[in-house]
């Protein structure tokens, strides 16, 4: 499944450009160390964190895109960093659990 399909299905807002990448799964975490240890390349990361180290960790493990929950919006610096790393940041007012259930309904396992 492509990032754009998830944007459309979950009605997410793009805080960055939407980069055309395939999704291989989902990882939900708010901890940089957990993301580095356990997330996989191509995963969609669902988090409430908007710190630039989340982008650094996502880039290190080749995350395809990030969904930021609870209406949080990253700063311009973080948006620039994500775009440079070609990682889409998608925003929603839903919480992580709501996003998880919607992703499951969309067929992502």
């Amino acid at each position: 499944m492509k990032v754009q399909e998830i944007v459309d299905r979950l009605e997410l807002k793009g805080a960055t450009k939407i980069f055309d990448k395939d999704l291989s799964g989902v990882y939900i975490s708010d901890m940089v160390s957990d993301i580095i240890a356990n997330a996989k390349a191509g995963h969609l990361l669902v988090t409430v964190q908007i710190h630039n180290n989340v982008i650094a960790a996502a880039n290190l493990v080749d995350i395809a895109a990030i969904v930021v929950t609870q209406g949080k919006l990253p700063s311009d610096d973080v948006i620039k960093m994500a775009e440079k790393a070609q990682i889409s940041i998608l925003s929603t007012t839903m919480n992580r659990w709501q996003v998880a259930t919607k992703l499951y309904e969309a067929g992502i396992r």
Binding site: V32, S33, V48, N52, I55, A56, L60, V61, D62, K84
Partner: protein
């Protein structure tokens, strides 16, 4: 049919814990260490002429890397965390080199290590650094993308704060943020 290649190097023995930061009450020297205790230690203690007092902590993890071909396990207990060039000051050497690397689709990180008993940073051996680079590059999927992890040749540990290193600093204050 797609055949998934198993990477040669994999992260093993992942242990969650805390980076404990402390300072000597007399000299104000600072140091940090990893603790896997369920409750992070905050007690002040004496070590020779120094009294070490708790200054702060961050959630983090410790890991080894296993070479699936040889079975050899490389330990990374000396590693405090990685620092992404994009989180460094614009205009700094590391930022400039990181930008050059980025033009070639290489993402630059710097490995920051803990202090040894002599107060100096422990060096990552060339072999361990090579394995660390291989392990993270093995995990990548994006065609042409590369990760380059350098030792701290820039002495960044002297100027960066713990919050800039990729550890979970200040996470407990998350719920208070708007």
């Amino acid at each position: 049919m797609t055949i998934e290649m198993k990477p040669r190097y994999e992260m093993v023995n992942v242990q969650l814990g805390y980076v404990i930061i402390e300072h000597d009450v007399y000299s104000s020297a600072m140091r940090s260490y990893f603790s896997a205790e369920p409750v992070p230690p905050k007690e002040e203690y004496r070590e020779g002429k120094q009294i070490w007092k708790y200054s702060g902590m961050a959630q983090s993890f410790r890991f080894d890397i296993r070479d699936a071909e040889t079975g050899e396990v490389f330990k990374y207990d000396e590693m405090l965390g990685l620092l992404y060039y994009g989180c460094c000051k614009k205009g700094s050497d590391v930022y400039g080199i990181g930008e050059l690397a980025h033009d070639s689709n290489i993402s630059l990180y710097v490995a920051i290590t803990y202090e040894g008993p002599d107060g100096k940073r422990v060096k990552l051996s060339a072999d361990k650094l090579r394995v660390l680079n291989r392990a993270f590059n093995d995990r990548l999927q994006t065609r042409g993308k590369k990760i380059l992890i350098l030792p701290d040749i820039f002495d960044l540990y002297k100027e960066v704060s713990y919050g800039e290193i990729m550890i979970d600093f200040g996470l407990t204050s998350l719920e208070g943020e708007s």
